[in-house]
Subunit: 221 residues, 2 copies
């Protein structure tokens, strides 16, 4: 049993959740750079939105570290972590350890953001047994066993589209709550299970659309 | 000079652009599976929205391939491509060929979606000269020259956060229109230049938040 399932502030609007997670990354960078206080207008400028939007979002947090004209960065970051529930651990598995799965296993700082990578699975015997960032790649045939044993709640799907639904079904029946889906396969899941699509090709297409709205500027070298 | 800069339907609302690009991936999969016609309710079910939303979005397209109760998939996909401007080529470079840059170069089917990968750049002598999917990794010192020569309009930034702004500046001064930013560095760019953030860690945090809204279901194996 996980102890802390419900965060202090649940039912935040989805765009608020999205912005808060992105503010957090910005605040962490400021903190790394040694900065202690940030104003809503500075955060808005870096994020590219408005100070009033930033203040509205921060207003949803329990303890904002407000001081004079700004916010203490460490306290504000902590408040976001608490509100998003990142202060209790979410257990994760990566399913599919091709190039993308391996890149995520190596790149994503799970530990810094309230997540713990509990397993990486593949069906390729040349990959099974490899150790990636301290986690051994295991045979996908024991996926259900490991998800149940470790009470894993989130999975990342990086498998070929043709087997994505089958693996999603296996994950759901093992008690998973959420799937981050990097395949191009849309998934059918029961109510109460969350699928988040991460389709990088769509980001490319969306940006290409924007880029075509006006002529390419002249170089200025 | 690129001939076709403005698509037929510009100024679509951003969420519409996002949904259309995602419908396109779904339609392409149905087409691959040999299907010819799809109804708005079937598309809505796969996408997880409502038939009326799907119909509203499709209503923005020039030629929808409407037939009886549904749409001819190939025509609908073609209409989306045309509307998003994917029928004219957007030239792209990848800047930074670490694990993530290399994964994108190998994974993203640029050619299938109106994009052409015109260059991959890095500063690591052990990587420069490698050939990835037919494109040679070049020294980042010639980045500006190549972007200007080929009239590249989009760049993907996969470099360490510490050098992201510097490289964005160099890209902008070479005449780039849009940057897909996979670093965690927020970028300052002049008006009229588009930055799209692709922060996978934020998707993880957002999904983790959702997963904590209710208890983990019991396994059902």
């Amino acid at each position: 049993m996980q102890k802390k399932e419900a965060p202090l502030h649940n039912n935040l609007a989805w765009p608020t959740v999205q912005r808060l997670s992105e503010y957090l990354i910005i605040l962490e960078q400021f903190a790394e750079g040694g900065r202690e206080v940030i104003s809503s207008s500075e955060l808005a400028e870096v994020y590219s939105n408005t100070p009033s939007q930033v203040r509205q979002d921060i207003f949803r947090l329990p303890n904002t570290g407000r001081v004079g004209q700004g916010y203490r960065i460490k306290e504000l970051a902590e408040a976001i972590r608490e509100t998003l529930g990142l202060d209790s651990v979410t257990k994760i598995v990566i399913v599919g350890c091709g190039r993308m799965g391996m890149t995520l296993a190596q790149h994503i700082p799970f530990g810094e953001h309230g997540m713990k990578l509990c397993g990486i699975f593949d069906n390729d015997p040349t990959i099974i047994g490899l150790e990636i960032e301290g986690t051994k790649v295991e045979d996908v045939s024991i996926l259900e066993k490991k998800v149940v044993e470790s009470a894993v709640s989130m999975a990342v799907l990086c498998v070929p589209a043709s087997v994505a639904q089958e693996l999603a079904d296996r994950l759901v029946s093992s008690g998973i709550k959420g799937i981050l889906n990097l395949t191009r396969q849309r998934l059918k899941v029961p109510p109460g299970i969350y699928v988040q699509y991460e389709q990088i090709i769509c980001s490319f297409m969306q940006l290409a659309y924007k880029c075509k709205q006006s002529p390419r500027p002249a170089p200025n070298l």
